[in-house]
Symmetry: C2
């Protein structure tokens, strides 16, 4: 076993940071280290937290982490890893510091490890980097891993698929009801949160979401899809600002973990995550093996023909790979 | 040439709808038809419109389309295609109808063609489907193609890369300034719009965005990246609700087109789009060729071992492809 893998297994934070940097930059050696860490994974509860900009996700993640990490006056205590996925900005040369600023309550806590990840690079790349980062945090002994994603795009849905439990955060007044639905993430929610419950419109938003869930349940009851039939998606009102509802949220998240483990769903979700990982690895390996200089030259010639509209891209690629 | 390709080239809307459905469902025959249509493409101005939920993008796209389509009292008139990318919802069995409701001013107009696309399916799949849809609209004679995406996730950034001109829409009061930056899409903007200019906070939001752009310009001036150096990203205030600023926006979008065409950037962006398309096609073809029943059986065995933590996924895939 490499020195780095050994240190990560012992919970060495500096080693963990370094390994995640290797993952982010797709350094050659990180697969070997992940091979060594893999047998030590599979224990962590992976929780996705997603929702639109301005819903207060970062502050909520902060509160939830502080609640779940426990402490001297609490019955249980957990080591918690946080992965914050921010889109790249050229203004900062990487992820912006916003979340880190808001998460300053957490830094310095030896049981909490925070990592911001930029979503630069190839499509799909971020989901894989997040997956691998969760894997090494798991190996390093973090029992709960919170993955915070901004926006409601497809990469977020993809990241949600990595999670055992997905929390979707909405806030009152962020566009109309249709916007909430357009966020398109109701269907991936195991827990719905209406944050900023101090706002007047919070009750209305919660009611709307409950009605939409009920409508969805009815549709699902008529279909073959019985994925969620035994889990009633709760709608929790929280105020990340003053801490209201955070205890409820933590309790519901724990209840969902128990539900997954007792019903066999835990294994199903973990296996689905691994299946997606295997497929990604196969796709990448096949392309890497193909992408040798001789083929790169051919590709460049084709690009020239296609850009001049002399050949169709579809026909060209068929000919190339024949 | 197939009958369907012929009809699409003649601008037959029913044929166009049918072909896009083939693209969405990845039917076998659509690559052959795209081959036939490809020589007739490359003329359309592809415009991406993106921004957070609640910024009023749909209404803005509606207004912009009505402005640019022209009519009997206008000097120029264009045929306009609109592609609205909505996340899937199981509540509706597909994309929600929100955009379509708001776009009712446009339906019935023979020079406007609207298509909603759900972002279901494999990661990266939606970007490719949108790209192919833009391609067939281009072949069908639509001179301007507006692609509206929700959220600020990576798939949106990917779709923006497909566009010649990317309009990023912000609205006052959608979270704090850091949220606006976190939307992570400032760097992809060719045109910035502060919509809902009737709101009091609009001027402040516009000032903040201008300051951020100026800071970004300074950083870029010091770096090697000279992609945007000759194009000053304008900040336009609009009210999609009452139509303020829409003329300005249309003028700026046209100016950007001229800028691209005169400076050679048009060709560069088109070629970059085609390069990405070729790489996707190669990746998919390689995987499809590999994904035969014999390999599927091997994959299933590996999945079982990996799910039981007997083998590492990375080592397993290396062994599998050796």
């Amino acid at each position: 076993m490499t020195d780095l893998a050994n240190k990560v297994l012992k919970g060495d934070r500096l080693a963990l940071s370094r390994l995640i940097t290797h993952i982010e930059n797709d350094f050659q050696d990180h697969h070997t280290i992940l091979d060594q860490l893999f047998p030590h994974t599979g224990k962590a509860h992976i929780i996705g937290v997603t929702g639109p900009s301005g819903s207060g996700k970062s502050t909520l993640v902060n509160r939830l982490a502080l609640n779940m990490v426990g402490g001297k006056n609490r019955k249980s205590s957990h080591k918690i890893g946080i992965i914050a996925v921010d889109p790249t900005s050229p203004f900062s040369g990487g992820a912006l510091l916003g979340d880190r600023v808001r998460m300053r309550d957490l830094t310095g806590n030896p049981d909490i490890f925070i990592r911001s990840m930029a979503s630069r690079g190839a499509l799909g790349g971020i989901a894989r980097a997040v997956d691998n980062t969760a894997l090494v945090m798991d190996a390093a002994g973090f029992e709960i891993i919170l993955i915070e994603t901004v926006g409601a795009g497809q990469s977020e849905v993809e990241i949600a698929r990595l999670a055992h439990t997905t929390i979707v955060v909405e806030a009152p007044g962020l566009g109309d009801d249709i916007q909430a639905a357009k966020a398109g993430i109701l269907e991936i929610a195991d827990v719905l949160v209406v944050n900023k419950s101090d706002k007047a419109a919070a009750d209305g938003t919660a009611q709307t979401l409950k009605a939409m869930l009920a409508a969805g349940e009815e549709l699902r009851a008529q279909s073959d899809d019985n994925l969620h039939t035994n889990w009633q998606v709760p709608v929790i009102k929280t105020s990340a600002l003053n801490g209201d509802g955070i205890d409820d949220l933590a309790a519901v998240v724990n209840a969902h973990r128990t539900f997954l483990q007792e019903g066999g769903e835990w294994k199903i979700r973990s296996t689905a995550r691994l299946r997606a990982l295997l497929e990604c690895l196969v796709r990448d390996s096949l392309y890497d093996a193909w992408n040798v200089p001789a083929n790169q030259v051919k590709m460049q010639k084709i690009l020239w023909l296609v850009a001049n509209h002399t050949c169709s891209p579809f026909q060209s690629v068929r000919d190339l790979l024949k």
